[in-house]
Structures are given as C-alpha cells and as structure tokens.
Symmetry: C2
Subunit: 336 residues, 2 copies
Amino acid sequence: MTPMNKQYRLAARPVGTPKDSDWSFTTEEIPTAAEGEVVVRVHYVSLDPAMRGWMNDAKSYIPPVGLGEVMRAGTVGEVIASKNPAFAVGDHVTGYHGVQQYGVSDGRDLVKVDPKLAPLESYLGGLGMPGLTAYFGLTDVGAVKEGDTVLVSGAAGAVGSMVGQIARIKGARAVGIAGGADKCRYVTEELGFDACVDYKADSFPQDLKAPLKSGVDVYFDNVGGDILDIALARLNRHARVVICGAISQYNNTTPVQGPANYLNLLVQHARMEGFVVFDYVRQYEEGTRQLATWYAEGKLKLKEHVDTGIENFPATFLKLFSGGNFGKLVLKVSED
Amino acid sequence: MTPMNKQYRLAARPVGTPKDSDWSFTTEEIPTAAEGEVVVRVHYVSLDPAMRGWMNDAKSYIPPVGLGEVMRAGTVGEVIASKNPAFAVGDHVTGYHGVQQYGVSDGRDLVKVDPKLAPLESYLGGLGMPGLTAYFGLTDVGAVKEGDTVLVSGAAGAVGSMVGQIARIKGARAVGIAGGADKCRYVTEELGFDACVDYKADSFPQDLKAPLKSGVDVYFDNVGGDILDIALARLNRHARVVICGAISQYNNTTPVQGPANYLNLLVQHARMEGFVVFDYVRQYEEGTRQLATWYAEGKLKLKEHVDTGIENFPATFLKLFSGGNFGKLVLKVSED
C-alpha cells in the first residue's frame, strides 16, 4: 500500500474547549517538491497552548488558522526529497508543517538540527521554541539577575521547567507552581528548583508564604487567572511580571479574567510585560546555542511527554488544558 | 478673638465613597515651634485621588492615615514662626501639613517656593506633585519619544492636563479622554492637545477611532476600569502603559476591575508599569526646574480649581470622584 499523508484540519472555530467535531481528519497523497522546495516527513508534532489562540478568528500576532486548513503546529522531521540546494535528503529539520505526516516547504522556515546531540523531540521542547521562550522571557523581558526570587507558574510544563532551571543558572532562586504532588516533586528533585507549590492543594495559596518570604522579583506567568493575582500581591519593588501565556483563560467562553491586583504595579513601581518568542527570531541562533551549551554541560534537564499516533491528536491536545501532560507535550506522528 | 487651628481628622475608614461621618472637624490652638521647627500657616490644601487610598487600612507605599489623625494632604503656606535656621518668617513653602490651617514641621519635608514666579496654588498643581507625576511618568516610565501617539485619561485633570502638554513639548501627538464637552474643548483649545474624546458621550468609545488610527504608543492611565481596557485594545507594538492611578476604582466596594485585555501586552510585546511620584524624590529639583522653565517660556498652561473654606473640605474632596472639578483641585483654607 502506498503511504499517504494523514492530517488534522480545523473544521470549526471552537467555543470553549475544542471538541472532536472542531477537527476533520483527512488523508491525501504525499506532496512533491517543486523547484526550490523540500518535502519533510514529520516525526513529531509540537502541542502548545498558543495553538488554542490560533484557532480563534481574532487578530493576533499571526493570522488565525483558516477553516479547512491543516492545523498549524511546530514540527521536527526528516527531509525525504529536496529541490533546494540548502537541504539534502536525510537532513533533520524543525519547521511549521502542522498536524500532518508530510509537509512541503521552501526552506525559509526550516532549521537544521542534529539528532546525535539530543533526541529529535527535544528540538520541539527545551532546545526549541519552549526553551527559547523561557530564555528570552526570563533574561530579556524579565531581566533576571543574581539573587532574584523568580516565581513561575506551569513549572512542570515545557516553558516553566526551563524558566526555573535558567533562573538557577543565573544565580536566582526558583520557586515553581505546579498541579499535583508528583509534578512538584519532579520540579524540585529532578529540575532543582528551590521550592514548588501545588496549586491543587487545599493549603494553596498559603503554601507560597514560606518560599516567597522575601517576595517576588520576577514572576513568569504561563497561566493567568487567580494565580496571576496571587503573584501580583507578592511583588517586590521594581519587580517584573513576564506575561507569556494565560492557559487558564484560553478556553473561556466568558471574558478573560483581568488581574484585579494590577494596581500593585503602581505601589511597587513594578512592570508587567508581554512577549511572544517570534519577537526574537533574529536571536534564535544565539539562544539555541546557549541552551545547547548548558545542556551539554549537564546544567539543563529536558523532559518530553510523547504520545503516539496522529489519530490521537484531538485527545492529546486537550492534555495541555487538563494538565494531563508531564513535560513538553509532543505527538509522534510518523509510523515506522 | 485669638485665631485657632481648624482641622479635618479621619474619624472612620470609609466604605465606598467617603461620607461626612467619616470625618471629624476639630479646633485646636495654633501650634508653637520647638527647637529646629517651623510653624506654617497653610494657605492652600491639595486634594488628590491618592488621598482616598491613604484612608484605607491597607499596606501601600506609605502607611495609612490613622483614625483620629489630621487627614494627610499636600499644602502650601507661609512660615509664621521659625526656630530652624533654614527658614525665615515670611518664606513660602510646600509641605504635607494636611487638612488644617496651621502645621508644624522640622523642615525636612518643606520646599521653598517663589510666589512671584507663579501663583502660590500652582505649586500644588502643574508646578507641584501633579506636574512632577506627569513629568516623570511620561518621560521616564512612559519613555515618550518624538512621533509617538500619547493617550491620556483624566485629560482635564491635574496630572492629565500636564501629560498632554509635556507630550506635545516632546514632539508627540496628544489625545485626551475627559468627561464632557466643556472639558474636551478646554483640553484641545486651551491646552493644545491634538484631540480629546468625551467618555460621557453616547458615541464613546467609537470616537477614539479617528484620533487613534495610528494606534497608541503611550497610554497614561489615571482612571482604570473600562477605559484602561479600551486603551489596551489599541496598543501598538512595544507600547508603554503607565499606571498612575485608577480613580474609577477607588470607591469600589466590590473588587477592583482587572484589565481583561491585558493579554494584548503579550500580542504587542508591550508593557504596563506603575509608579508613584515619591519614587523620584531625588529628582524633584530637576523636574521642578524643567517645569518652571517651560512655564516661563509660555509652553505650559496651568489651571487650578479653587474652592474656599476649610469647612467645605468633605464636599470639595468628593469632586475628585464626580469629575466636579476643572483643573487641579485645591482648597483655600486661610482666612484673610
């Protein structure tokens, strides 16, 4: 049987949490390369909270995914055909081929990666966009410095896990917030955070009191909602709040919950600043080199949560919102 | 009859809008100066939105006013007795003598001012704290630059009126938001803003569309609430939101309304930063000199709304929240 290209396309704009009927599963022939193009066999698809935003018909930093289009997603795979002199068959590349098994590209969005240096799926995680998001968010937007206390929500997640580790490398204290005792144990025992607090525990947010007794210098927010307000209440003078995401709000059918404690910015002469990693595209190479160096020096631990089978995409995607993943969530879509 | 010192003291912590019963009116003998002290006869008391915050029993950048204490307020007056070599009888000084007719000070909080250069009450307005708030907020926190579009709420108020004028001096466009056609006319025709939009009009916020067609580079927020959200929706890339106050929220008995559109900070890589003018105490002299220079060059127009009679303090104070004042609100408390 000829291999085919299985795909997930956006069938409807979700209201709240995406349902199965918001997707259509299609099968096409494998694309071919025109002059200047390459065909990539996708091994892993990256699942990221930002994808939920791309499903809405709203103006944002990039256009929404159109109805009927293959769902946009970061990918890592292998070149299987090339009419572009910059890429050879067998090269491994990251790109944005979306939720499908084969993609075609003119090469401009592809970055070659070395599968001998780190597992292929790491290039979607700690050594990819989530790692770069943590790196630029914490060092540039958050302006972390030695002796700071850095608080990060989603601490066991793809971005948060890197934020705390980079904070420690920079000489700061790292305090995480994560859901559940297992994740918290992972964050402190494996990733080396100074503390981690379980937001699902009855004793939350009181549990934050001890690890934050010297206040918060940088809060790296991946979740929004009540936890953002709790962090705002604990800011030190001249603190920086890095707005990276708001996963607690992405499936809202009611308006986004604004941070009622934002006036603490005034009292503490603090700032809240947002960013998306695409703002740093010209520094990706520098950032990736730094992360890879730390990884090679044994200073960073990476963890991926790998689900398998493109058919499982809708269910796997929902793990982002239920906290069902542990580590950077990726889906293996190639069939061996 | 011997003159006495009439005073307003905080009698109860207000719930929502302050009531008459939250104050007590007292009469005491005029204080005398101990060694190192001066006695100041207060001519004008400054009425500022921040005073509402000082009435709450809440941790903030300065301690709350204690129950039974003279209400804290900025003042300008004349030295009538001095046992401090730095001050002579007849000197005019600003200070924090509160809502009373006579105050005593060790001189550390006093700044000499020249009543020949500008009317005494200006030193509570455009040449005083509100002017310095506008100056440091716009130039330092807001980092205004030539060609920017600066949006400011409370544009006819003590701070807002200065923000727009300083923006123009710096080569930026100034767009104001104020309550009522009269205030808007004043803002454009007398203060020289490029545009002003009436938030009480039925056509608000649509009226903002034309003057903000090139977006907002700096939003200077004095009001919070819905207007903050409207401004957040119109930010340009790398915009700065200066959180100076939130007068729409100060009398709330419900929680503060957080800005639901704060996620636009992420999309636009923008920041929201708060400050209080006390953060700049070491630069007051520099700032005051700059403002006085611009005033002398005819580049700044100042306007005070002067009510008369210390007995009218509770009613005059409420004008801050009803928009009943037009220009910097001061109360003349000296009796001639």
